[in-house]
């Protein structure tokens, strides 16, 4: 009887202990999104593996949207930089976390004609 009582209490505390260890829910959907450009641009961005990737993107109209999405974890560095070809146009660069805008910058008729957006996925 005594042993049974002890086992029950032990079980209770094991459950309590395990419950205290919260599940690791630190993953976030990261989306790089570039829009509002009509001249084409080159983009460099930090990918899922942490490497810098570069790409040249042609667009047919300002309605074209370029996106790149991956799953990141808290603390990961997110980085996207776009250099548009025609300084007479503009560009809008965003980083979205779980569908919500996390960082955003835009440029219009700028002779520097590039926009960089970056940060790290915040800890909750």
């Amino acid at each position: 009887m005594e042993k049974m009582k002890r086992n029950k209490i032990l079980l209770f505390f094991v459950i309590l202990f395990v419950a205290a260890c919260e599940p690791n829910d630190d993953e976030h959907k990261v989306t790089y999104r570039i829009s509002d450009n009509e001249s084409g641009f080159s983009v460099s961005y930090r990918g899922e593996q942490g490497d810098i990737q570069r790409k040249s993107v042609d667009v047919s109209s300002a309605e074209d949207i370029w996106t790149y999405a991956f799953t990141g974890t808290e603390g990961d560095i997110v980085y996207v930089s776009a250099n548009y070809k025609d300084p007479e146009t503009g560009i809008n660069v965003e980083i979205l976390l779980n569908g919500k805008v996390f960082r955003q910058e835009s440029s219009l008729y700028d002779t520097l004609n590039f926009v960089t957006v970056s940060g790290s996925i915040p800890y909750e």
Partner: protein, 782 residues
């Protein structure tokens, strides 16, 4: 009443049948030890129940009862300060029965008053003992935080956890920290986010010993004080038993949750302990309503296995794996992102080797810390994200032989320690094209090795205790090139002259004299030598000090030397209780501190600092202070204690650098400038009342801390206002299996901060302590 097993039998019993004699009677002999290692218990009454046979243990814990007729008996071991122990024994004609017994100090709730009074006589200098029941009542976040409750102990605090202990104004590596008498841990962070005590869970600690002053030389080099953390060990049982302890705690301010679970058991040959702890706190609210970033998560598990392969031989191996996650440090440029620590320990003891050769003790350990920190939650991370990744390893051991030399104790031993540190900081320039990355070495394969030989001779007589101790240390250090480059790859600072060797010696002597049954006076003198630590030798341009400078290590520093004298007086009467007072004076030669390096030599690298300081040996400084305490007798359940302590530190000649518009424009020599980060006068008053046969014990406490106006001008140290805090807690023992502690801290929701709390980084804003907080702790022992 049946004694609860966890609190009573923490003993092992070795029955070894000796050679048969021709006599018609039997003999029982043995040694009685405190549960703490190396501590024989004197004056234990050993009585064979319902017979006239009895004796008292001698100063070495030895006893012998002769001429016992054959038969079955119950032997009772009793002592005022320990749990009573009963053991059955069957004696045959001619038996020579050896019974080695370990007794545990009484562990009923809230006996800190008795522990203080009982322990006063044991050493010529001041030692604070804190036992498990006192530790487990606490809702403190870690060991450093807890130690701030002890008179003349305080802590440098920079964040939600990782408080760095300060003993009588001595801090950082001036205070030695050992675990289980031997194990040492080297934290990874240059800014001491993770001091040694932060790598041990407070719930795994059975007992803390704080040796004030440089007198304890047995546990490795000691400079200004030693903290020995004795962790809970598995113990043997005469028959197989298993015991469980579970603790659940909650604290309202900061939504703090703590859990502890331990299972220990075994028999007289093999015994074990498995334990785990989890601790999670979020940001708290200060008394002024300010939200303070102080969240952290810590958890660990520990496995221990012991055996007694032969009579008088004990072997214990243990593995402790601990983790820290997302620990906020608002007073530092970074937060600790993760800490993964592994501690391996091996212990082997052989007792009673011969009449004069009492014991051999072997301790081996390896502690490995993997520390990652970053600035990702700081405003500066909008342009540069910096991540530091550091490995720190400490490997060592201790070998000691204990002898009985003409009824005196002689300890001879050697210890060894090798610290290795390696780590880098990666800076990601996240607003620059193509995300450039710069890697800087924080520790470039830095290594310190210390080998020491020591002796302690201790003579205990009725009227006095005399201690003489000494040690010599061979200390050597080296590192890869100390190098910091700018973005163009050109060196900002480089130094490859990193080798150094020191031969250090330390001595101490003390006497505790009992003038009467009421009065004891202890006096100790000591000289202790400390070689510089990793930071003082090898740091490269990091803002690690109290002042706003980048610091530069100096591999060619000399050791600093503490020459100290301590006096303590204890006066005790039945009506008055115990009055104790003590004072110390410390003259530190070659004091290690910082002095400015002109910008033409090296420029600062960190944001918002005013210059660069390099570690050097100042000629001398001195520290002095006093402590007092009054512990009332038990007045029908009412106990009162009043303690107080203060330390002063003075640098006879220091340099203040004049700063204008963020730049050093001149300097001024100061005479008798106070040392920085010295805690002010503090007094604690506790009143407790035991009711219902000690089942219900309310305790009220008041803590008075004076303002600190003696601040260092040279370090631009800021004054701190005084404060008064009130706490209340209640301990209720529902049964021997269930104890609840509940209470409220900072009852009047006072907005306050300790003098040793660092300021919020980049500002002069103080790091406030929590406001009012309710807590409850439930302990189940099975």
């Amino acid at each position: 009443m049946k004694q609860f097993a966890y609190h009573t039998i923490l003993a092992f019993l070795i029955f070894a049948t000796g050679s048969l004699s021709a006599q018609n009677t039997a003999v029982v002999t043995g040694t009685i030890l405190d549960k703490m290692p190396d501590a024989p218990i004197e004056d234990v009454e050993i009585k064979i129940k319902s017979t006239p046979y009895a004796t008292i243990s001698d100063r070495n814990g030895n006893f012998e009862i002769t001429n016992i007729p054959p038969g079955e008996y119950e032997i009772i071991f009793s002592h005022i300060g320990y749990e009573k122990l009963k053991m059955g024994v069957l004696l045959a004609t001619g038996d020579l029965r050896r019974m080695d017994v370990v007794m545990e100090p009484k562990t009923k709730v809230l006996k800190e008053v008795e522990i203080h009074s009982k322990r006063f006589e044991e050493a010529p200098y001041s030692i604070e003992h804190i036992s498990k029941p006192v530790i487990r009542q606490s809702t403190r976040k870690d060991i450093g935080d807890f130690l701030r409750e002890v008179p003349n102990l305080s802590g440098v605090r920079k964040g939600g956890s990782g408080v760095d202990p300060v003993v009588r104004g001595f801090k950082f590596k001036q205070v030695a920290v050992v675990v289980d008498g031997a194990t040492k841990i080297e934290g990874g962070c240059p800014n001491r986010m993770d001091p040694a005590v932060s790598h041990v869970s407070i719930m795994d600690v059975e007992n803390m010993e704080i040796h004030k002053g440089p007198f304890a030389l047995r546990y490795g080099p000691n400079f200004g004080g030693l903290i020995n953390l004795q962790t809970t060990r598995p113990v043997s049982y005469s028959e197989y038993q298993m015991h469980i302890t579970a603790i659940k705690g909650f604290e309202s301010n900061g939504n703090g949750n703590t859990e502890h679970l331990s299972i220990n058991g075994g028999n007289d040959r093999v015994y074990y302990m498995l334990s785990g702890n989890h601790r999670k706190f979020k940001d708290y609210t200060a008394g002024n309503g300010q939200r303070v970033n102080a969240g952290f998560t810590k958890y660990n598990y520990k496995v221990q296995l012991g055996t007694e392969p032969f009579i008088d031989h004990r072997l214990l191996v243990s593995y402790d794996r601990s983790y820290g996650r997302n620990m906020d440090f608002p007073a530092l440029p970074m937060d600790e992102r993760s800490d993964d620590t592994k501690i391996y320990q091996f212990e082997y003891d052989i007792d009673n080797i011969s009449e004069k050769f009492r014991r051999i003790t072997i301790r081996l350990y390896n502690s490995d810390v993997h520390h990652i920190m970053d600035n990702k939650q700081r405003p500066f991370s909008d342009t540069v994200i910096a991540v530091s990744d550091i490995r720190a390893n400490n490997m060592g051991g201790r070998l000691e032989a204990a002898f009985d030399l003409f009824n005196n104790d002689l300890f001879l031993g050697m210890d060894f320690e090798q610290i290795e540190k390696n780590g880098e900081r990666v800076k990601n320039f996240i607003l620059q094209p193509n995300l450039p990355v710069k890697t800087e070495m924080l520790w470039n394969n830095a290594e310190i090795t210390n080998t020491g030989f020591y002796t302690l001779w201790e003579s205990k007589r009725k009227d006095y205790t005399l201690n003489i101790s000494g040690r010599v240390d061979m200390n050597s250090a080296n590192s890869g090139k100390l190098l910091l480059e700018n973005m163009m790859g050109k060196p900002v600072y480089e130094n490859d002259d990193t080798d150094s060797r020191h031969f250090n010696y330390s001595l101490s002597a003390g006497i505790l004299y009992t003038f009467s049954k009421n009065l004891d006076i202890g006096f100790s003198i000591g000289r202790a030598t400390r070689s510089p630590d990793m930071t003082e030798r090898f740091i490269v341009l990091l803002p690690i000090g109290y002042d706003n400078y980048d610091y530069l290590g100096n591999p060619q520093l000399d050791p600093e030397i503490n020459n100290e004298a301590d006096l303590k007086i204890g006066y005790r009467t039945e009506n008055l209780g115990l009055l104790q007072a003590g004072g110390f004076f410390s003259y530190v030669q070659d004091f290690i501190t910082g002095r400015e390096v002109p910008p033409a030599v090296v420029k600062p690298q960190s944001k918002d600092v005013v210059g660069v300081k390099e570690f050097y040996n100042a000629d001398h400084v001195y520290l002095y202070g006093y402590e007092f305490g009054w512990y009332s007798p038990d007045w029908s359940g009412l106990n009162i204690s009043v303690t107080g302590a203060v330390t002063y530190g003075v640098n006879p000649e220091s340099i203040k650098y004049i700063v204008e518009n963020g730049e050093v424009v001149g300097q001024q020599t100061l005479k008798n400038d106070p040392l920085s980060e010295i805690p002010p006068f503090e007094s604690n008053i506790k009143v407790k009342y035991s009711m219902f046969n000690r089942k219900l014990i309310p305790v009220a406490g008041v803590r008075l801390v004076a303002s600190q106006n003696k601040v260092s001008q040279a370090f631009y140290e800021q004054e701190t206002p005084g404060f008064v805090l009130a706490d209340f807690r209640l301990a209720y023992e529902f049964s021997e299996e269930l104890i609840i502690h509940a209470g409220v801290k900072n009852i009047f929701d006072k907005a306050y901060y300790e003098h040793l709390n660092r300021r919020i980084i980049g500002s002069n804003a103080p790091l406030y302590e929590p406001g009012i907080s309710f807590f409850i702790n439930m302990t189940v022992n099975l």
